[in-house]
Amino acid sequence: MAVRFPSTEYFTALKERMAAEQARFRRLGFIDTTFGITVAGNGEPRNFILSFEVFELADVREVDAIDAASVDFVIAGDAAVWREMIDNIRRNGEADTHHDINTLTHFGEALKISYADPEGHDKLYRFMESIQEFFDLTSQVEVSF
């Protein structure tokens, strides 16, 4: 059954697949970070907070707004950009060279990174491969928009 994007169900589906692929994520190592995702659309933006601990996504919740000081960083962008990334991952099995998180966020034109603390910002890069492979799990999920 398809899960809608954006929704906590979408992130929960990735969380379950991450748990199912423990060997892969153990190989990538500890991931300890809490970050925000903002999906802007025609109406109010949807905001989610993802908390990773040890080797897994420990918690995901939707919030009204994200206080930058309470998370390491926030990745924000229009629903169309997120959709393009998700479609690309589903088509290729993983993000191609134009749709990985570092590329999409690089100049802040597609997705934008914001942070209150440069150490929090650096955590995106400390755990980059785990975060990328987490989103690449989208290839195993039916997604509707």
Partner: protein
């Protein structure tokens, strides 16, 4: 031979007799079983994570109560062991906690250990079979890889040469520094392999870059080394890796840069925490670190603008040698250089040295302001 034992044991009759006596009689001394040490029973607070250093931060074995000046142990003895008479003076250079400590050092080490990767088996090298990059892009990629191999070899040497100089009481810092040396050795390996797989072999070494690397290697103290290596150089290289990932022509290059950036960001994390620690706990060092930063910024500015790096970056960023490629490449490379400077000052500010965001204190800040103005005039965003 730099070191001689205090005795010639082959000629020491008592020593040899005791060895033979034990073989003949099986009579044991067993005095070591009465070691005057603390008995503790550690357990993993989070079994998913395993038994980490933080779980054994207990009593005399822990790091929480380390004194600022370690005077009791100058040997190779591990923290918490009984120190009998006769231990050698290992002459550690660094026995002051504020010279090397950082909040969460043990955490950075544990993260490093679990996030190790293998340049031989974790990179899908087979995907490069049949990949032919255009000549200019291939040569630019190989030049970048040559430059980075040069950087990573000194980044291996520098932490490694400090290891035996650190008092063994600081076992967590020593472990982190050892893991960093391993990270850097792997980076040198992966960049060398990628340079050769372009088909263009290695390209040219960089005198400007090597001057900067020598500055890293020859710091007078651990803190100065850490500021120059972890904070300035690796901070710059982290930005470079992120841009390189963005510019990568293949998914193999993307994966390489994602993996190296993780290690680099961890080193920068330690560097920031150490810098904060030293400013808070050893404020007398502030001016010394300012002086060291003056030179580190001078050299990193020169190294960042080295022809071998800048031009290869421009060609990679623009995707070729045509005029429009070069124009695009210059835009992206300028944005990269300004981003490096911006993040450098942002980190110093966060660590407690906001005063460097001023032309009176930092000549790099002047260059940053000048670069921003020139970029704005040229319509370049960063």
């Amino acid at each position: 031979m730099g070191y001689l034992a205090t005795k010639d044991y082959f000629e020491d009759r008592d020593f040899v007799d005791k060895w033979l006596y034990t073989i003949r009689t099986g009579e044991l001394d067993l005095s070591w079983m009465k070691a005057a040490t603390e008995k503790v029973k550690p357990h993993a607070e989070n079994p998913r994570r395993g038994l980490i250093y933080r779980d054994i931060d207990l009593g005399a074995y822990g790091y929480s109560n380390l004194p600022e000046k370690v005077r009791r142990n100058r040997s190779f003895a591990p923290r918490g062991a009984e120190l009998p008479e006769g231990l050698p003076d290992a002459q550690p250079w660094v026995s002051r906690k504020s010279e090397l400590w950082a909040h969460n050092t043990d955490g950075y080490y544990e993260e490093a250990v679990t996030r190790q990767w293998n340049a031989t088996t974790d990179i899908p090298w087979e995907r490069l079979e049949g990949v032919e990059l255009p000549e200019a892009t291939g040569k630019a990629l190989s030049q970048l890889m040559t430059f980075l191999t040069e950087v990573e070899m000194i980044a291996t040497d520098t932490p490694a040469m400090w290891l035996p100089r650190l008092n063994p009481e600081f076992i967590e810092v020593r472990a982190f520094i050892a893991a960093q040396a391993m990270d850097e050795a792997r980076h040198a390996e992966v960049f060398r392999k990628r340079a050769l797989t372009t088909g263009h072999g290695l390209m040219k070494a960089s005198p400007m870059n090597e001057m900067a690397l020598k500055h890293l290697r020859d710091a007078d103290s651990f803190s100065e080394m850490s500021v120059a290596l972890h904070l300035v150089a690796e901070g710059n290289v982290l930005t470079l890796f992120r841009f390189s990932e963005f510019l990568s022509p293949t998914d193999v290059d993307k994966r390489i840069f994602r993996l190296v950036m993780q290690d680099e960001a961890r080193h920068v994390g330690y560097g920031m925490q150490h810098f904060k620690w030293v400013l808070e706990h050893f404020p007398q060092k502030r001016e010394v670190l300012h002086s060291h930063l003056d030179e580190a910024e001078n050299i990193s500015f020169a190294s960042g603008a080295a022809t071998e790096l800048t031009e290869s970056f421009i060609v990679l960023a623009g995707g070729g040698l045509k005029q429009e490629n070069i124009a695009q490449g210059v835009k992206i490379t300028t944005a990269f250089q300004l981003k490096q400077m911006h993040e450098h000052f942002e980190r110093l500010d966060k660590c407690g040295m906001p005063e460097r965001k001023s032309g009176d204190r930092s000549r790099l800040w002047n260059m940053f302001e000048m670069g921003k103005a020139a970029a704005a005039e040229a319509g370049i965003k960063f």
